[in-house]
């Protein structure tokens, strides 16, 4: 369902420079959208037309299918539902304290004092900034300022959140925290639109990508399609995402499987090919192209891990039932990923679990959970790219614990089950401190795992 739409939008600045040239976009509800283009390609101007700050010269903007009107009342309604987080947080944080700044939007919506207070409190809790609420913005770091800016918008409960270059000037950990927050918001149904010139970010994060250059929209589509289109990227003066570039180089050297378009490092690892041939005696009814199960190998036959399940694809059958087989090896005991929900936090339980539970790596996602871990003196091995690195570690047989909360649990679950589904490698996922609704979700997610693929490989 389309939530925001522009039709043949034309906008030029008072001095005549064209800022938008016939731009038409359709933005679907609940999606993660990235507008990619170099600086000055018109992204910010487009965003300002989407919430009615700039009125286009020609064309129209539609919100929920209705053309936007530019009278005060309609604009108010539009701006309540389409929030913009500006690139420079200092443009947005003007109140002398954090609390006042987050309260600014809700106050303008005419909420009562009590309601403003409760909304602000819960939003500050949500972004993990409650302890700082009485500080002035100039005492905050860049990442904290950005989270306050986002909180100021979230407190108005908009349907669409637009962020102009959300990661500019942030350090990697701060950037990760902001992205975690955006993923969580998206999980709860918000449509998130960002502009960026970071192709890696857009490729990895977005559901749908728009490419802008010279104030025009020159391409849109799924990130896989867009970023493999060399001609389009060249026109937009963008480079390829690094992961795709690595994948391409590996493919040229035929080290990876031919098709596939990895989005992250686990994806890339999955596409790696292990070309290994072996003479095997097969039964007479096996034909070329068949898959055969060679069972478990260990000792000197297992190349990478203590125990490997080996499958083979028959390439050629010789006389005497001797066949040339291409081997694929899988580690038998893939590790597991355990998720701990800090919304139901119990210090003793968690510490006991880490001490006794044979946990190899601990990661925390989201500011609130990181703070809890820090407070309880839990050593964190992973603080950024937590899901990806936990998957990688689990693939190497480790038991990984992810400490997180709220919508990020759902997000983590989804990512891991998606990986399981695509790779057919079964990683055990579990929430260790379950309560009612989450355990049902856990079974729902794990239920989606394709057991067929994994069970034949893991005959052990």
């Amino acid at each position: 369902m389309t939530i925001l739409e522009t039709r043949d939008l034309v906008y030029s600045y008072p001095d005549g420079t064209i800022a938008l040239d016939n731009v038409s976009v359709r933005i679907d509800m609940g999606k993660k959208i990235a507008f990619v283009g170099r600086n000055g390609s018109g992204k910010s101007t487009l965003f300002l037309t989407l919430n009615g700050t700039l009125a286009p010269k020609k064309g129209e903007v539609l919100f929920h299918g209705e053309p936007v009107k530019y009278d005060a009342k309609s604009l108010r309604e539009l701006r309540k539902n389409v929030g913009i987080v500006f690139q420079n947080s200092d443009d947005q944080l003007f109140a002398p304290s954090i609390y006042q700044d987050v309260a600014f939007g809700p106050t303008n919506l005419g909420y009562s004092r009590e309601k403003v207070n409760s909304v602000v409190q819960s939003t500050l809790d949500y972004v993990g900034l409650n302890p700082l609420k009485k500080k002035p913005p100039h005492h905050l770091s860049g990442g904290q300022k950005k989270r306050v800016a986002i909180a100021g918008i979230v407190a108005m409960e908009p349907e669409v959140i637009i962020l102009d270059e959300p990661l500019s000037n942030l350090d990697p950990v701060g950037a990760d925290e902001v992205m975690d927050l955006l993923n969580e918001l998206n999980y709860f149904g918000k449509t998130i639109i960002i502009s960026t010139h970071d192709v890696d970010l857009a490729y990895r994060w977005a559901d749908h990508v728009f490419i802008m250059t010279d104030h025009q929209m020159i391409g849109e589509g799924t990130p896989e399609d867009i970023f493999r289109n060399d001609e389009l990227l060249q026109r937009a003066n963008l480079r390829k995402p690094q992961i795709l570039e690595v994948h391409e180089e590996l493919r040229r050297r035929s080290l990876v499987k031919a098709n596939g378009c990895p989005k992250d490092i686990p994806g890339l690892v999955r596409t790696l090919k292990e070309p290994e041939l072996m003479w095997v005696k097969v039964s007479p009814d096996v034909k070329v192209g068949d898959s055969i199960n060679l069972g478990l190998l260990h000792g000197e036959f297992a190349l990478n891990y203590p125990m490997e399940a080996v499958n083979g694809k028959v390439l050629h059958i010789h006389e005497d039932c001797m066949a040339i087989v291409e081997l694929s090896r899988h580690y038998v005991r893939a590790g597991s990923i355990m998720i701990y929900d800090t919304d139901h936090h119990d210090t003793d339980f968690l510490q006991l679990f880490i001490a006794n539970g044979d946990v190899d790596t601990v990661g925390a996602m989201g500011k609130r959970s990181k703070l809890i871990a820090e407070r309880d003196n839990i050593r964190l091995d992973i603080t950024s790219g937590v899901i990806d690195r936990s998957i990688l570690n689990a693939l190497c047989g480790q038991r990984c614990l992810i400490i997180t909360h709220g919508g990020m649990i759902y997000h983590a679950f989804e990512r891991i089950s998606h990986y399981i589904e695509e790779s057919g490698i079964n990683i055990h996922v579990d929430i260790i401190n379950e309560n009612g609704d989450i355990s049902t979700l856990a079974t729902a997610c794990t239920g989606q795992m394709p057991c067929a693929g994994s069970s034949e490989e893991h005959s052990a």
Binding site: L48, N51, T53, R76, R79, K80, G83, I84, F86, N88, D90, D91, Q92, L93, F94, A95, P96, S97, Y99, Q100, A103, F104, G105, T107, N108, L109, V116, K134, K135, P136, P137, H138, H139, G152, I153, M156
Partner: protein, 260 residues
């Protein structure tokens, strides 16, 4: 990072106390200090306020003395002039300078001491307030005193953007310094001019951006204030009353006492 008065106030333990109590203490000190004829009362007030600021508000003593030194320097100069050129009465000491008689009379000396004491006490009262009450808290006091809303709002934004521009100004100054922008008097003058120009333009642009960002959040002329109900504790009332009584007793008993 440069530490300014407001930063101490933000971290002060007294920040969490009732704002009105602090204002009453400050106002009381100033009024009594100024109306005293003897230098003793203001000195007592200055001493109490100094102890309160350093002990309760946890302001480093070095910093406190440093900021007190600035007004003290001005006062000392004026005190010398007052001592020599005003007042009547017997001469305490004097000398001849190129045939002119310069002398300090008892009246002049007393006057000088009173001025010195009043100034120091007034300053220490004000420092007590400004080192324990950040601007953020004072805005809600202003609101309660029925200041016009638009005035408070403009004041709040000015407060916020002082720091933004200070950061920009420090950044520009640094950028100029590393390229030898302040190597001599002439270049310093030119650099400071450029700094002011670009700061002015920045301020202008910031105003436009601020307008857009406020409108994007449906601004309709209302900012909320950080108001918190902080009841005055009994111990605080007791300490404050003890201080008031002490000062009043000193005020009464020294009303006619002059040092000389």
């Amino acid at each position: 990072m440069t530490y300014i008065l407001d930063d101490y106030a933000l971290n002060s333990p007294l920040r969490e106390k009732n704002n009105w109590l602090k204002i009453v203490i400050t106002a009381f000190g100033i009024v009594v200090g100024v109306s005293s004829n003897s230098p003793v009362t203001p000195f007592v007030i200055a001493l109490c306020m100094g102890i309160a600021t350093i002990h309760f508000s946890k302001v480093p003593a070095r910093f406190y003395l440093k900021i007190l030194a600035a007004p003290a320097g001005f006062v000392l100069v004026s005190v010398v002039i007052i001592a020599f050129f005003s007042g009547t009465g017997g001469e305490v000491f004097g000398f001849d300078l190129w045939g002119h008689r310069l002398g300090v009379s008892t009246g002049g000396l007393n006057m000088a001491l009173v001025v010195l004491a009043r100034t120091i006490s007034g300053m220490s009262c004000l420092f007590f307030l400004s080192l324990s009450t950040p601007m953020i808290e004072l805005f809600s006091v202003l609101k309660a005193t029925r200041f016009p809303d638009s005035f408070i709002e403009i004041a709040m934004m000015m407060y916020r953007y002082i720091f933004v521009f200070m950061e920009v100004a420090i950044g520009i100054k640094y950028a100029q310094t590393v390229r030898l922008g302040y190597k001599d008097f002439r270049t310093s003058f030119r650099s400071i001019g450029m700094l002011a120009t670009s700061l002015f333009i920045r301020a202008w642009e910031q105003g436009e951006k601020l307008y857009v960002s406020m409108n994007s959040r449906c601004y309709d002329g209302r900012l909320i204030l950080l108001e918190e109900n902080r009841p005055v504790k009994r111990s605080e009332v007791a300490l404050t009353s003890a201080y008031f009584i002490l000062v009043l007793v000193v005020f009464y008993s020294t009303r006619n006492i002059l040092l000389i």
